[in-house]
Structures are given as structure tokens and as C-alpha cells.
Amino acid sequence: MTNEPKGKPDGRGLTRRGLIKTAGAAGAGLGLGAGGFALGSASAAESDDGTGTVPFRGERQAGVVTAAQDRLHFAAFDVTTTSRAELVELLRAWTAAAARMTEGELAGPRNDEPLLPPEDTGEALGLLPSRLTITFGFGPTLFESAGAGRPTRGAGADRFGLSRLRPPALRELPPLPAEAIEPARSGGDLCVQACADDPQVAFHAVRNLARIGRGKVVLRWSQLGFGRTSTTTRAQATPRNLMGLKDGTNNIRAEDAEALDEHVWAGAEAPAWLRGGTYLVARRIRMLIEVWDRATLSDQELTIGRAKYSGAPLTGSDEFDQPNLAARGADGPVIPRDAHVRLAAPQLNAGTRILRRGYSFTDGFDEVTGQLDAGLFFISFQRDPARFEAIQRNLGRDALNEYVKHTSSAVFAIPPGTREGTYIGQALLEA
């Protein structure tokens, strides 16, 4: 945006929305997006031209089945306070700020105190809401005393008195195939998944939540994602990952209510505070780009089990044809025994499906090899992390493992959504 906040005094106080309207009225080059937005957020809701907003409040948290936005900023935090009251205070403040930011507002009320830092860091001023969603989760270590497993933090046994409420399914993943896990970018007590169509809007959300949390939480690791690799609604086209392949063609979509109930939303097996929520698994999957790039077309296609350009299974002609795992050619199965689509297929995984919501990432280059440090930041939602674990175990002999390496791992319980006046995780902390 070209407009500067200064010189645009606004009786109601400066807000991102207010600024956008002003700019639009001034014809400051905002174009159609601003015009549409000025008509009101209802008509623009979920539009991906930047003007759309996704409600933060609701039965379920946004950012799970929400049509996948283009950008991601994911952050894991460690809780440093040992006070349960402070943890509650933090979650209240995070909930309030998240509700504001997803509406395109500042993280906190504007202050004009010359001798106070501004409540909002300001870099999203003038930017559109960009369908920002903020999704919160609780890691296994939140329910533990310090030092259980991962590096020590916090103090005292069962520091928040939550261990009795910890679902057995919420635990770090055990060692799995094709991984070289870096503990420094794994795990975490809390997570924030910020997705938006504008990278600065997503960054702004995480930055302001981190700021609100200072003194109570510290950032443990974070990951930026620059391009969605999954499709979570029927209307979205299947994007390509950094291997140049269509990914997640068989993903569960927002419209598949039955499949979501069966595979994604936690049911009666979960403790009351988590029912209707889900579990998030995050895995940073580094692609060995240089090696992949010199694999022949045929080798790439046999590795995945799909045609590179069309995305169709090797046994079909259209992307959405179901792979025929039984089809045989002269030398054996048309889709090889170790092809990724075969080993990941629900048929070979006791019918298990997961909701994928991954993003491409790059973190520059690898200091050790000088090669591109890039890949897929894999995020999946499922009713039980053990489901992901079973699929990943089945991928132990996946031909794709020659080209990928999981370098981080984290699991979070994603509680259900909030109503006006409640805060995220309230059912857990007030159980």
C-alpha cells in the first residue's frame, strides 16, 4: 500500500480496515480488491483476492478445513512461566489478538502514547486481511513435568496440573523411516499455525503473538512456507510441490463431512476438552533437490506412481482416476511395489486417510553440502497421530525416500474453536 498511516487521522482510531477503506476512497491504486472490501466483509468473505476474512470464532478452529491459503508461518513455543494463571492469561490474550488480526484489525487497540511502544507492530497496516487464519495447539510437553524427554524447561512435576487431562494419543512420534530429526526444530509446548494469502500478514500474526507472550513463552522454532501444496476444498486446483508433482490429489476435502468425522475430528475416544478438535502432525521434509533434478522422467514417475505432467496415476489418464494397484505390465505391477502412491494408498493402510495441509519451504542452502535446503513442510490433521505414524512406517520402503529426509517432527492437540467470550483451550484449563 502506498498510504502512510500518518496524516490519515481517523476518529475511530487507526485500523487496518479503516485504512484500506480510506485508501480505496482516495483511489490510491488498490483496485477492485479494495472496492469489494468496502462493501463489507460478508460479501468478500473467503475471497482469495486478499479481501476475504475467515472467522476466527466457531465450533472448530479455522485453518484446518479452511481452503488452504498460499502462505504459512508456523511457530512452536515453549512455555517458560510456571504459573498456571499466567498460562491462562496468555491464552486469553492470544485468543483476543487472534480474533482481531483475522478480521484485519490491529493486534491490540491503537495507543497514541508517545512514551509507550505501539500495541501493534504495524507491518500489516494497509495490508488486506488475506484470509488469515490462526490455529492454536498444545504439545505433549505442556502436560508434562520439565525434562520429560525433550530438553529441560519449566520447573516442577506436572507444572500446570494438566497431566491427568493428557490424551494418551498425544505424544511425540517415535523414530520413523527416512528421518534425521533435528531436536532444535522439533516439538514444542504450544503451536501457532498462521496461514494467509499474504506472507507479511502471516508473519505479522506470529510476531505479535510472540510479542504478547514475552515473559511467558519463548519461540522454540518456526517455519515459513511459501506455497501451498495441498488442496482442502473441491474448488481448489491441485498445486505442485517442489518436485514438480501434483501432491495430495486424494486429500480429504472440506466438503467430505463424513470423511472428516471418520478420519479427522476427535470423537468420544478423546477427553472432553478435545472432542471436536483434532491432532496436528508437522514434519519438515527436506527434498534432496539436486538428486531429484537429475533423476530421469521415467524414474521420477515410477518413484511416485504418477505421470509428472498430468498427475494421472500410471494406470490412468486423468489426475483424479483412482490408481489401479493391481494392474500388471510385462515386468510386474504398473505402479511399482515401492511407488509412493501405492505405499501411501488408504487400501494399504487399513483405510486410513489424513487431511494434508502442507507448504513448500526453502531456508536457503545447507551449510554442510552447499545444496538447496528446501522441501515440503508437511502438516496433516488426523483423529489420532498414530494414524500418521502407521502410514509413515509403511513408507519405510518408499522409493521416494531416496529423495527426501524428514528433519523435524512435532505433534499438537488442536482443541475445538471458541465462542465470543471464551478463550482457546478454556475447556482444558478449567476442566
Binding site: 539436486e290 512406517r393 531416496e402
Partner: protein
């Protein structure tokens, strides 16, 4: 290795020499005209010369695989004898050089069932109760300093290596897969040797590194007469890159072997990785020229 090389699903397997001749004869025409620069005049004479050269390449590479498989049988027997006798230091001494015969022909093991994960699987890639092979013993030797309880593992390793030897003597190969195998061997270097993950306990990664390069070179050497006709410039480029690769590795030789991986600096590993990429990139042009 943590993963299969290419040539899955029996692509590398059992192709009669007749098929290879046929494939070679056909290569000037139908499916792949631009890939064979040799396809200027597709005379019967040229085709037959190409066909003979490819058949000779396949024979030469098959003989190499048989030699290395036989050498692996012997070196594994010697290694296992030391392990079974509880001679930890001796076993550690033999370990890196015993493995090079495997690393040279790894794509062959990868193409057949579970031979690769069984012989060369790494912790984590295989369920703990199924994990055996060289790296399981590596961990026992370097981490625990003990050979206790390894008898079933060593016996299994001898069996698996025997199976690989049988495969090497039974199967025939296809020229494009030999070429692809060479590229894949360098992929192995990029994926796990250059990061020190392969030999995470012994740090003898550079032994494997060189063996992978040698195996890639064996495939290239076998195909060279054909390639000379198809693209002499590419041959010269690949030879230059192999030479640079060996020059670089020479800097890390100590005695009969190499320095340990954990003594390499990031500058060292980056330089090595860069040269592997340069070499592998030029080699990746080969499969289409011999297909």
C-alpha cells in the same frame, strides 16, 4: 542405503541379450530419435555396431558386478569371522574396506527385493526388531564396543551377501539401467555420504564415497565405446569430472583409507558435494543415449 536406487520392479532384471540388441537397433528410429546422436545415418551397419557395443557393455558391466559380488562374499566372510571371534578392534579395522564391494554395486542390490535394506539398512529406516546387516554391527562395534549377541546378525549377513552373489551371477542387465545405476550411485553420495549419515558410528563415509564413485565409473567405462560414437564431447566432460572427483578425494587419503568424516569441515564437505553434483549432472545425460 535408506532407499532403493532406481531400477525398481525388476526393470534392471532379466533382459535377454537379444532384447538389448533389439532395443539398440531400434534406437535410431521410433521412440527416441533425438537422444541418439549416433542416429545420423541409421544404416544397418551402424545399428549393428551400436548393438554389439551395447552388448559388450552389458557383458563388461555384468562381469564387474560378478567380481565385486565375489569380493564382497570374501570380505564379508573375513569381517564376520572377526566379529564372531569377538575381535572388536580387528573387526573395526576390516569394516570399511569390507563394505566397499557392496557400495560399488549397490544399485544391483536395490533392484532385488530387500537385499539392500537387509545388508545395508540404517537405524530408523527399518523397524528395530528387523534391523540387521552391516550397520547394525557397526553400531555394536563402535557404540557398544562389543560383539555380544551378534551371531544371528552375522549369520544373516552372510546369507544375504550369498543371495546378492547369486543375483549377480544370474541376472542380466539393460544398458540404460547401467547408466541410471551410475547416476543413482552418486545420488547415494549426495544423500547420505556427504552428510555423514551412512556411517554415523564409524565415520568411515569416505570409503563408501569413493566406492560409489568407482561403481559409477565402472558403468560409465562399460558404456564408453557407445557413448564415444553418440556424444564424444559428453564423454570428455564426464571424464574430466571423474578426474576432478578423484583429485579431490585424494586430498583426504590417509594410508590405505581416508580421514574420518567427523574431521571434515563444512568447507570440505561443500567442495566434495559440489563436485559430486557436477559429475552426476553430466552422467545424467547418459541413459537416454544408450536407451
Amino acid at each position: 542405503m535408506n532407499a532403493t536406487i532406481s531400477n525398481r520392479g525388476g526393470r534392471l532384471a532379466t533382459l535377454a541379450v537379444g532384447t538389448i540388441l533389439f532395443a539398440a537397433a531400434g534406437c535410431g528410429g521410433s521412440d527416441d530419435d533425438e537422444s541418439t546422436a549416433a542416429s545420423e545415418p541409421t544404416t544397418a551397419e551402424t545399428a549393428s555396431t551400436d548393438g554389439e557395443a551395447l552388448a559388450a557393455a552389458v557383458d563388461e558391466y555384468a562381469a564387474y558386478v560378478r567380481r565385486e559380488a565375489a569380493a564382497l562374499t570374501d570380505s564379508t566372510a573375513e569381517f564376520v569371522a572377526a566379529v564372531d571371534a569377538g575381535e572388536v578392534e580387528r573387526a573395526k579395522e576390516i569394516y570399511p574396506s569390507a563394505r566397499v564391494h557392496f557400495e560399488r554395486i549397490e544399485p544391483v542390490a536395490s533392484a532385488f527385493g530387500d537385499l539392500d535394506p537387509d545388508i545395508d539398512g540404517r537405524a530408523g529406516d527399518i523397524p528395530p526388531d528387523e534391523w540387521g546387516g552391516y550397520h547394525r554391527i557397526e553400531k555394536a562395534l563402535w557404540v557398544h564396543g562389543s560383539t555380544k549377541g551378534l551371531e544371528p546378525i552375522t549369520a544373516e549377513l552372510v546369507d544375504d551377501v550369498g543371495n546378492l552373489d547369486a543375483v549377480a551371477n544370474r541376472e542380466e542387465f539393460e544398458a540404460p539401467d547401467i547408466a541410471q545405476g551410475s547416476v543413482d550411485l552418486l545420488g547415494e553420495v549426495s544423500a547420505s555420504k556427504i552428510t555423514g549419515e551412512e556411517e554415523r558410528y564409524s565415520h568411515t563415509d569416505l570409503w563408501d564415497f569413493e566406492a560409489n564413485v568407482q561403481g559409477a565409473e565402472a558403468g560409465f567405462d562399460a558404456l564408453k565405446p557407445t557413448l564415444e560414437r553418440a556424444d564424444p564431447k559428453l564423454v570428455a566432460e564426464i571424464e574430466k569430472q571423474f578426474e576432478a572427483m578423484y583429485d579431490l578425494l585424494d586430498g583426504y587419503r590417509r594410508g590405505d583409507g581416508f580421514v574420518l568424516y567427523d574431521t571434515l569441515t563444512p568447507k570440505d564437505t561443500r567442495e566434495l558435494a559440489r563436485q559430486v553434483d557436477a559429475l552426476a549432472e553430466s552422467l545424467s545425460r547418459v541413459p537416454s543415449l544408450v536407451g
